[in-house]
């Protein structure tokens, strides 16, 4: 059970801000593959990983990061604060 959050155009493309996902994926990339296989809107959101960033448990992370022990994963475009 992992809580997955989406921000900015990732949220808009997937159509929801967050969801709880039952997954056996070992890494973030594995989770992305599972989600992308689910519905076209996920596949569209995750089509170009260079345009995406990921945080695991609220820390910037990478697509090959392990999911063991992770409770929250967030996907979003490069940040544009300031």
């Amino acid at each position: 059970m992992i809580r997955v959050l989406y921000f900015a155009w990732v949220r808009e493309r997937i159509g929801r801000p967050s969801e709880t996902v039952e997954t056996a994926a070992a890494t973030v990339a594995g989770l992305i593959a599972e989600l992308s296989a689910r519905e076209d809107r996920y596949a569209a959101a995750f089509a170009d990983l260079r345009a995406l960033r990921v945080a695991t448990d609220q820390q910037l992370s990478s697509f090959d990061a392990p999911l063991a022990g992770v409770r929250e994963v967030a996907f979003f475009p490069p940040m544009t604060g300031g």
Partner: protein, 149 residues
């Protein structure tokens, strides 16, 4: 190490009052630098700006950036305010303030904070126009700016 004053809020802030308070509380420091970011009106094309953020991570990310600044420079004070939600053209988006004994540290820390807030704090800006809305794209220069630190 002086505490950093970090605020993430939807409501406006009074830049002049915050800057004046910050300077007043920086007694002993010789140098205070502030940066204020405003919504540009883009020649009247912009209707509003919407800023989304990641509650929880935002505060942690800003605190980590401020901590890093305080390990790099000898600072008397740091303040960061960043808004989210819908903002009108001309409104303040965010500010940073730094106080140090000498100007070099105050300037460097303020620029460091800005460079990292731009690209490492989870905020996303969307520009609303009469004919639609666009997510602001990250600038290559902003990512490149991190390399100098």
């Amino acid at each position: 190490m002086a505490a950093a004053d970090i605020r993430v809020q939807a409501g406006p802030f009074d830049y002049g009052a915050v800057a004046a308070d910050f300077a007043r509380q920086s007694g002993g420091a010789g140098a205070v630098v502030t940066f204020l970011g405003l919504v540009r009106d883009d020649g009247g094309r912009l209707t509003a700006m919407e800023i989304e953020h990641y509650p929880g991570m935002t505060e942690r990310a800003i605190a980590a950036i401020a901590d890093e600044a305080r390990t790099r420079w000898s600072l008397d004070r740091i303040a960061v305010i960043h808004r989210f939600g819908r903002l009108a053209p001309g409104e303040p988006i965010m500010m940073v303030a730094t106080a140090a004994r000498h100007r070099e540290a105050a300037f460097a820390a303020a620029e460091f904070l800005m460079d990292y807030l731009k690209s490492r704090a989870p905020f996303w800006k969307k520009e609303l126009h009469a004919d639609g809305a666009d997510w602001v794209a990250a600038r290559d220069e902003d990512e490149a700016a991190l390399d100098r630190w």
